[in-house]
Amino acid sequence: MTTTAPVGEKNLRDKTSRLHKPQRRGLLDLGGARGAVTAVWIVLVLLYIFILIFRPGLAQLSSVQTIVVLAAVTAVAGLGQGAVIFTGGIDLSIPWIMSSSAIVFASIAQGEDGNLIVALLAAVVIGLLLGLANGVGVTRFGIHPVVMTLAVSAILEGGALGWTGGLVTGSPPPIVALFMRGDAGSFPMVIPALLLLAVLVSFVYRQTRYGRELQAVGLNPTASRLAGVHSKTIITSVYAISGVTAALAGIMLSGLAGQSYLGMGDPYLLTSVAVVALGGASFAGGRGHFLGTLGGALLLSALITVLMTFQLPEAIRTIAQGSVILIAVIAAKVGVRPGKRKNSDGIKSFRRSREKAIL
């Protein structure tokens, strides 16, 4: 606030702030998702204890590393999905943005480290443009997010098949594989990078103007537009972010797999939505945080690895992931209800204290 408030109002604010304890404003203020995010990390710890007791082989450093690296791809894809879901939309084009940008990445890089920058830029720009196309369709033409992203996904699917002719072309540079898998015995750099990303996203979400405006749009697009936020631009940007993160996830996956191929992103439609759901996000928008998505990605990755040790067919894995989505959204919904009441109590107590201050 740069404008000087009238004296009376200033006094009032001083009084109310003393009466009403201000909320925490640090990086860890997760808004409405606090309970769900805490819950997902607690479940993760419980699952780790379960693994320690029943599957000690999985608790080794190398296995844990694999679980985290697999989770990193899902978490990056889930970052964009989560941002879109935060505004009440959904992005069904993530799998094919992943596949097509990974294919472009591999065919430009041709397995040479020297081509890394060009290939990376090309793939990210493709993701950005596709995401922007989604965003413009949704905000400027008023197309439903499901329809818009489904259409883009279909165009990409056909386009990728036509462009490659179904063949595997090119290969990702070795440095990406090193980044994802690490050298024999060494630590893959993707894990610290993921931590850095989590800190960065938390910072942007909480401390920057963009993050605040995004929260406002997620909670109530109309009200935030009336308050002077460019809602449409914010929503468009969210789809662009989703396009870029999908491209990055595709590149990470191609590093992990050692090649890019058609349909490599297919499983990520389910997993990107599942990890956001596990993170306690509301699919009507306005609630969710990347720390929840990250916890959800680690949890899902660990869960799948545990399931794999039971030698179950792949079909069971799909069923389990589908059930995880349903259980997570139901649990988040049921768990949030008392929280909401608390929130409105808080507003009431604030009003009461304000009335007192005026009197």
Partner: protein, 335 residues
């Protein structure tokens, strides 16, 4: 005011003009590209039977769209019913009918499950149906791990009957006409008008005594039953099963619903539109095939058609709105 009752404008308002136009224009292109396309047997294979599965899936999706929801579970239901039929079908006629009944029942039950979860927990239908779709797809993979053919049946087989004909009239056409008649009856029934009321304005419907929850759960159930029928139709068409087949119908069903003039968000459109939309989508694919385009173009075409139809439909809405404004009639609900 009188102008509103002119048949042309009424057609435009019902949203059926666009799918009819699409079908006519595409059919003209198709016939000019492949002259014997109007031959009855050709028509049966390339238009009626080829669009039967899609039309049934689109009709199901249309019901959910009419009540203001979205349903991604068609792929899962089609996959699981297709797998169930492929593995268990055969034996006596009674047994065959039993499994057809089971397939429809599975569809209805999964639809009711979707509706129940969406309503009881007040969740977004998109995420719930995405979850159930994958669960059902997983079950399909469990039942039928890899594509297989249908065991041939001695004598009468209701599944093969679905894509054959009586005295030159394709059964597929009769199925679609039955669905259309069912829709027209339902539209005039209490359930039908409640369905439209819920889709137009949930709160107003609830205030006027409509039990919104029951109606939307019922709508999801009917949609599931239609997906089950679509699963039977695809089994009949390919006389085999493929656990990964369902996913291509998801995009097609959305394209058909949008071409068919249904308003996403509910309350406007009809199942007839969705069926016509499905026929239009199928003819587009036929035209591309006849013109010698590679198969990947048909996927692209479905996506482009989806966006194109949206553009045409919204242009018509704007046109109607402007006309009405000129007559100074207040418009509610069209925004």
């Amino acid at each position: 005011m009188r102008a509103l009752y002119r048949p042309g404008l009424r057609l435009l308002e019902s949203g059926l003009a666009v799918p009819l136009l699409f079908v006519l224009v595409l059919m003209t292109i198709y016939v000019s590209a492949s002259p014997n396309a109007l031959d009855p047997s050709q028509l049966k294979y390339t238009v009626i039977n080829a669009s039967l599965t899609l039309a049934l899936a689109a009709a199901g999706l249309a019901i959910v769209v009419l009540i203001g929801g979205l349903d991604l579970s068609s792929a899962g239901v089609i996959a699981v019913t297709n797998a169930l039929l492929t593995v268990n079908y055969g034996g006596s006629v009674a047994n065959q009918f039993l499994w057809i009944g089971i397939a429809i029942l599975v569809g209805i039950l999964s639809g009711l499950f979707n509706g129940l979860i969406v309503h009881v927990f007040q969740l977004e239908p998109v995420v719930v149906t995405l979850g159930t779709s994958f669960i059902l797809g997983g079950f399909a993979l469990l039942i039928l791990p890899k594509p297989a053919g249908l065991t041939p049946v001695e004598g009468f087989s209701p599944i093969a009957f679905m894509t054959s004909d009586i005295a030159g009239v394709p059964i597929g056409l009769l199925v679609l006409l039955t669905i259309t008649a069912g829709w027209l009856l339902m539209r005039r029934s209490r359930f039908g008008s409640q369905l439209m009321a819920v889709g137009s304005d949930k709160e107003a419907a609830s205030n006027s005594g409509v039990r919104v929850g029951l109606v939307s759960i019922g709508g999801f159930g009917v949609a599931g039953g239609l997906y089950g029928l679509a699963g039977i139709a695809i089994t009949s068409q390919t006389s085999g099963g493929d656990p990964n087949l369902g996913s291509s119908y998801l995009l097609g069903a959305f394209a058909a619903v949008v071409v068919g003039g249904l308003k996403l968000g509910g309350g406007r459109g009809s199942i007839i539109g969705a069926i016509l939309g499905a026929v239009a989508v199928t003819i587009v694919i036929n035209v591309l095939f006849v013109l010698g385009f590679a198969s990947f173009w048909s996927t692209i075409a479905r996506g482009v058609l989806l966006l194109l139809a949206l553009g045409v439909q919204s242009a018509i809405t704007v046109l109607l709105l402007r006309r009405r404004r000129g007559q100074s009639i207040t418009v509610g609900g069209l925004s």
